[in-house]
Symmetry: D3
Subunit: 286 residues, 6 copies
Amino acid sequence: MKLSNQEKADILVQALPYIQRYNGEIIVVKFGGNAMTSEEQKLSTMRDLVLLAQVGIKVVLVHGGGPEIDNVLDKMHIETKRLNGLRVTDDEQMNVVQMVLAGKVNKDLVASIESVGGTALGLCGVDGGMIKATVMAPELGHVGEIVSVNAKPILDALNCGYIPVISTIAYDKSGNIYNINADTAASRIAGALKAHSLINMTATKGVLLDPKDENTLIPEIKIEEVDALKAKGVISGGMIPKVECCIEAINLGVKNVFIIDGRVPHAILVEVLSDEGIGTMFCKEA
Amino acid sequence: MKLSNQEKADILVQALPYIQRYNGEIIVVKFGGNAMTSEEQKLSTMRDLVLLAQVGIKVVLVHGGGPEIDNVLDKMHIETKRLNGLRVTDDEQMNVVQMVLAGKVNKDLVASIESVGGTALGLCGVDGGMIKATVMAPELGHVGEIVSVNAKPILDALNCGYIPVISTIAYDKSGNIYNINADTAASRIAGALKAHSLINMTATKGVLLDPKDENTLIPEIKIEEVDALKAKGVISGGMIPKVECCIEAINLGVKNVFIIDGRVPHAILVEVLSDEGIGTMFCKEA
Amino acid sequence: MKLSNQEKADILVQALPYIQRYNGEIIVVKFGGNAMTSEEQKLSTMRDLVLLAQVGIKVVLVHGGGPEIDNVLDKMHIETKRLNGLRVTDDEQMNVVQMVLAGKVNKDLVASIESVGGTALGLCGVDGGMIKATVMAPELGHVGEIVSVNAKPILDALNCGYIPVISTIAYDKSGNIYNINADTAASRIAGALKAHSLINMTATKGVLLDPKDENTLIPEIKIEEVDALKAKGVISGGMIPKVECCIEAINLGVKNVFIIDGRVPHAILVEVLSDEGIGTMFCKEA
Amino acid sequence: MKLSNQEKADILVQALPYIQRYNGEIIVVKFGGNAMTSEEQKLSTMRDLVLLAQVGIKVVLVHGGGPEIDNVLDKMHIETKRLNGLRVTDDEQMNVVQMVLAGKVNKDLVASIESVGGTALGLCGVDGGMIKATVMAPELGHVGEIVSVNAKPILDALNCGYIPVISTIAYDKSGNIYNINADTAASRIAGALKAHSLINMTATKGVLLDPKDENTLIPEIKIEEVDALKAKGVISGGMIPKVECCIEAINLGVKNVFIIDGRVPHAILVEVLSDEGIGTMFCKEA
Amino acid sequence: MKLSNQEKADILVQALPYIQRYNGEIIVVKFGGNAMTSEEQKLSTMRDLVLLAQVGIKVVLVHGGGPEIDNVLDKMHIETKRLNGLRVTDDEQMNVVQMVLAGKVNKDLVASIESVGGTALGLCGVDGGMIKATVMAPELGHVGEIVSVNAKPILDALNCGYIPVISTIAYDKSGNIYNINADTAASRIAGALKAHSLINMTATKGVLLDPKDENTLIPEIKIEEVDALKAKGVISGGMIPKVECCIEAINLGVKNVFIIDGRVPHAILVEVLSDEGIGTMFCKEA
Amino acid sequence: MKLSNQEKADILVQALPYIQRYNGEIIVVKFGGNAMTSEEQKLSTMRDLVLLAQVGIKVVLVHGGGPEIDNVLDKMHIETKRLNGLRVTDDEQMNVVQMVLAGKVNKDLVASIESVGGTALGLCGVDGGMIKATVMAPELGHVGEIVSVNAKPILDALNCGYIPVISTIAYDKSGNIYNINADTAASRIAGALKAHSLINMTATKGVLLDPKDENTLIPEIKIEEVDALKAKGVISGGMIPKVECCIEAINLGVKNVFIIDGRVPHAILVEVLSDEGIGTMFCKEA
């Protein structure tokens, strides 16, 4: 389909009311791991974020990186054990987690943002004393539980005009480093920032009434309904912790929380700059 | 033609490099009189300006209002004499000019901008000591020639987040009020603001090689070529003063000056946010 | 009477304690219509306001302009109907009201202030989204009732060093323009600004115990006494809405509200910079 | 002579153009010693300074205090020797000079300013590293010559809203304290502040053509004429160093320097806020 | 004992945690009179204060000066009467008190601070309207009781980068000057500044269990224990008013108040930058 | 050797003049690779830097990490080829370099700084568009040459109160990542920041007259002498590029450049806060 520039301009102008609605608000985007399916799609998402930043929205990017970590561990012939789905993280593995998240995934995202004309600052939870953590369970090694989030370094970066890109590595006062679940971290960060929205970009459509049928997307869930949906098995398996992070963010004061499909081109722009909801939105009963 | 939201988002993202190019720059738009053909088109243009302001461009709107003035003079049974195309402006006519420009056209434009979600401040050359003028020729009465332009009130308005909308009324130190040609004023204002661009929205395609054939648009004119074009009669009649204003702006340091067709929907967005030039651009030989 | 410069200096110094009392405070002055009896008296009042601004008081000028409106309506052979004293304002009349107030009276006041060395910004309720209004009564057309006052554009102007001059035109979100009673608007604006004082310059001495005897001025009225004064007929006729505006301002937190005689030279300076009260002051019972 | 408040207000308004001319400018006033003839006159002068500060002029007060020093030395039975008119200042005398100037005269002036509603900060050349000095001549003891003036503490005080009151005590890097001639210090301070004017309040009319005839005041002297006036004996004796300080200030960039009669009530207001010059003004040939 | 630079650096680094603990906090130091035993010790203390300021602590110095006052009174053959230990202060004596405190002791402390590389501003309670006082008892003359402390001039000095040095002279609105007890003033100033700590440098070890035995220092006293200690005679004589000032400061919100031995070299640094307490600390029961 | 707290305080005070000399200046410290001999020594150095930051010096840390990179390459069984001493860096190796430098070494340094009470921000040349580079030689792969250094992100971090910790990874506008020699980067960064000093912490004593005899340290080299020293073989081998970086920094306007022995405890504090020079200082002939 070939559009004239007039027609294109018309589409820009249609986005104006949506842009105005979010003007000056903070949106935290959780992205990474499975949602990062290709270099091209990553670049496309970064371009979306730079556009949001350019039109006056304060964008914060929080990322994970499970697949990249597995990849390097493989190359180093380090075997991973899991306990209840959590990586048992000894010192050597923690080193790899830290290197891959804070050194590779994080700075590659920063470079992508810069390459499409944005300016970003790649931080992790250690920078500026951002995320303090403690041991979750001794048998899990460096798997950490968040103790507190200090919003100052993120706000400093936003106020100086950067898109903060955050690896979810944390530390304790003895200098021990911890790996933090990125969904949990995104929720806590959104809460600490008093963000307007939290958008979890995943490799799923959202919450499905019938998990096998992508046409059964539930567009909106009141957090008061979650228990019933769990009981019915609608929210189950890997979706449970994701949904719990959404609830936590809302309880911390974030107005709207979304689980959207990161594989859909411009999913985040469609969610923010149109009336079309393309995933599941969580909110509180009025 | 029906586009999906993904396709629309893609169009937004295509505008990003253009937006970044103009980020933080001042663009002065001259609009009004004949270019203001309908209420709908006016609103559409205001929406374009608000979009430009929202994406980080500092927009200043300068307007004239000849037709509206004639209309009110008619209703008041005041006859207009012209000398060399200039309105002989006695005290009574000056009152009408001032009322219509600063009270009606100006505030209507402000209201239009506000109604599409922008914030504007309606000023004239008297406000904040902006435009000082003197008598152009005694026989023309209140027709004024600009003595100096004080950018402070315009910059104050921009820095406080408003789109300044400016009526080209000026005054002298004895308190006499003058009517100033809006094209001239726009050029002088753009120069005083060290604007990046000046866009004259007119009711013509631009400069045409054959004034009778709209397909002969000259897309770019170096100011060094203007004399030759005048000699050939390409630039003639009412186009001469318009082109001279363009040259003055460029000599005052404005980088790009455009004469575009205000009747084309979103003409200004197409000019600023795409590679398509839709009128005549004036610039200096490198 | 010829004074030496020493004697004049002594008089300046006597004003010092009064100046210090109001230092940094906001004073809203309502002026216009009948109080604006001559060009000379207007200029004298503007000079008074510039002096107040120069000595550290934040001056806001709100004006009406009934006589000027009537004058232009006459010239355009438009007849005015009134309902309960209010102008039935159809579209054509609203255009005239807007032109005269925002284009003529407003900018002339700005020019007067500039001509005595001050700097002013001529705004109306449409500028910066200042005054939102709604229809007062369908049969009155564009006569508006204030919904909300946004102090930001006025404070922006004050902080940038200008005397804001305000026409009491307002609008609603559909872009309809309304004519607002200037006394009411002044009260609401003073309240929104948390002004220290509101001074209504009128063509009367103030509230008179015997309306026919100018020697019976009541210098101070507690707002708790107003009902009794109305019952007695002391406050009656056109004075009733004026007094009600005063009460509204006080209820909105303005400390002192005055009705003073704008025809007396330097009335406002005498009121602010001496112990002599020259009109009626309204305040709350301690 | 009894004036009405209207008449008084009129006098205030007449001062407006003068106030506007000096708006935001720095005026250094040298006051003290013989010019400080009575408590009443001191208070009157302080009130003048507070008025100037209130109307937007940045006032700096530099003072001496010879008579007060002599008085305390007398009470302590310390004898003063003089060499070429300069006090031979040993350690004990320096202590007294410092105590009297920085502790008594300075803080009394501050208290006077506060008592008429101003806010002042009493500083000396030691505070904030303001005045560095060195020995003028070994035989004179603590009589100092200025090495440098640091404007920062004075500007800090002005920017925080205070009238700086300055004792002309200085020091060197070994911590030795020096007594500095107040006229010289005032000139150097005015130069360091890039002051608009320096006003020396003295106990004389100004420079007199015939020193014995007060009616022969020279209202204006170009600094190029000074040598000739010295040769003629018009400028002689104690007037010579005073005039040299005036010349130094002008050479340091101060526009206007005045020697005025501090005994005349409101002399400084008359000089600043009227067209009447009441002493001798020094300036450069155009 | 000769240390290598490495060993010295190690000692600097050991101070780091203490420095960080007080970073940005206000510490008020009361110093003077008997604690000022020698020029060398004064300079050493000033160097300590400049070090504290340099490492990020906001230091305020409040001083007295009884011995210096007595010394000058002696030289002037003025006899001092005392009533309940308080100097009966007539006009002449008040002049001396003011001169010595604000002119000599104060500016000498400022000069000392400057001579070791700091920057200080010497103020008294009259400057910037800092301390308002009233007559304590008519028979005591100019002995004053504090009515209010205005923290603004002190905070202005701190924010501009100066160490404020304060003489405890105060005044009332009639311009009368008062001598204020320096311990009381220091407590009130610390309270007005919401200081973290108040350190009283005295010529004693602190509070001793057996006043005759310096080895019986009480390192910490809860203010709730003071009455019992008075009853036992542990706190008695001249220590009573000192302790009462400490209690007042704590009641005004100062966290820690110390009485330390100003004769011990670097007493204040040891108190602030080590774990060793070298005097008596007052605090509230948790 | 056991010192009393008084003696320790005395040592702190001795550092004061050195602290004052560097107050507010920027010092760039190059650290890493071979100079980072033990965890304990790293922590000690970080504590030194935090102390410098705490006393008012703006500290920037630039690090390399050759040994850590080799270590991870080993574990991943990736072989390194070198050409003229430079690592031939293919895509896979570049990934490791980036991970180790920006993810491990960088964030570990940040964590160390935080663990001793400082606040740091871990950045690399990609963050905020800090270091733009280009291919040095096609056969070397991702070995980069610096094109430009943008000081803004470093200054932003300093102004927000952080110690910036910088990995010398760079990128070009196509998004290619480059490994930059850390010594070169430190010099260019120091130049871009207009730093006062650049301190290269190495695993050598400095420049030795006889490279085999550590007692032949040359304490100061004028850059004009370097050629002669190279000719004599005094500066040779691996010292040549290090010295060339020093010269570049000085040519870019850095006042003092040092090569010091990072293995000596508190080497940097001794260099900055004492008169003892412990390595080789480079400067320009006066």
